[in-house]
Subunit: 194 residues, 2 copies
């Protein structure tokens, strides 16, 4: 996605240890029009599939998930990291090691909103090692829901997440793909829509 | 907003102590089309003002804030509750007592994305006592930004937040207003767009 690639090149900051700071349009400040375009781009990659629900994890996955789901005409469920008092006692829960926080987080989804009838598209802000997304897949397994695909805003191609997800038969699409990050440059894949 | 009022009546659950569960379209599962309509409704209430930025607090404020900002054509900043490693050392920070969590949370905003040139619209999911929104106003004061208004998805009219915010000269608008909640019914204001 050309527009997203340009924003990453112009505003992205490599903080080292594989961490890309894109706080100006995705992770702290959000550009709604860019995110709508990202959602439309991702939705087009999955609109041949009978998706009933988009699943993401709070916090930064919410905006791209909502924009993708808006385009697909389905609801979003965002996995919580802390149990709110509105959640029932019995929930689906899965630990996920956090790439940027350095500790494990638990993801929680209520059985009220994910079940055996759901065919799920998982959307997240980043695809790196695929740890968070794998935890969301395990939550879908607990709920007996079927995962049909994974879409992310920015994929760090060199961290192996795509191989891990494709090896279990999932369609993986990212709006932008980073091939390599060095101290001085971010190298993006040319065709980043597939 | 008629569409939102109906969803609250049909799906809202009064859990007691003033807590309304609307996890089916706002706080765990999100209805993107409804949230787009909410954003359009809220944006219309403020489109005569020179808003440069929408400010909200993670987590459930993000979707309505992004949809309102999409309509107004401005960026959103969402205050973080935990400091991510991408955030600079010096940040604006303010404690806010949490209504539903029973303990204080800290809200953090980077000076990179909020400053003296900004005229701000604050958007959140709920207006109850106004504690979270007051903390966001104090963050704007730290940043020397000007707050022009406050928009929320659901206002609990009986908790006093509106009086508190209007008393400091802010325009306050909510997409739905709950006048009263009893064990058996949720009483909504008829004209909920102002």
């Amino acid at each position: 996605m050309q527009q997203l690639n340009e924003r990453i090149q112009n505003e992205g900051l490599n903080l080292g240890r594989g961490i890309l700071k894109v706080d100006s349009f995705l992770n702290h400040q959000v550009d709604p029009a860019l995110m709508l375009a990202v959602g439309q781009t991702l939705a087009r990659q999955f609109d041949d599939l009978p998706i009933t629900k988009v699943l993401t994890a709070e916090i930064s996955g919410i905006t791209p998930a909502v924009m993708t789901a808006l385009e697909l005409g389905v609801p979003v469920v965002y996995a919580r990291k802390q149990k709110p008092i509105t959640m029932p006692k019995q929930v689906y829960r899965q630990m996920a090691p956090s790439h940027t926080k350095g500790h494990n987080v638990e993801l929680l989804v209520s059985p009220e909103f994910l079940g055996a009838d759901d065919t799920v598209l998982i959307i997240d802000d980043f695809l790196a090692t695929g740890n968070t997304i794998s935890a969301l897949i395990q939550i879908c397994q607990q709920a007996q829901a079927t995962v049909l695909g994974v879409g992310t805003v920015i994929e760090k191609r060199f961290e192996g997440g795509r191989e891990r997800l494709e090896s279990i038969g999932l369609r993986v699409r990212s709006a932008a793909i980073i091939e390599k990050m060095t101290a001085s440059e971010i190298i993006l894949a040319k065709d980043s829509s597939s």
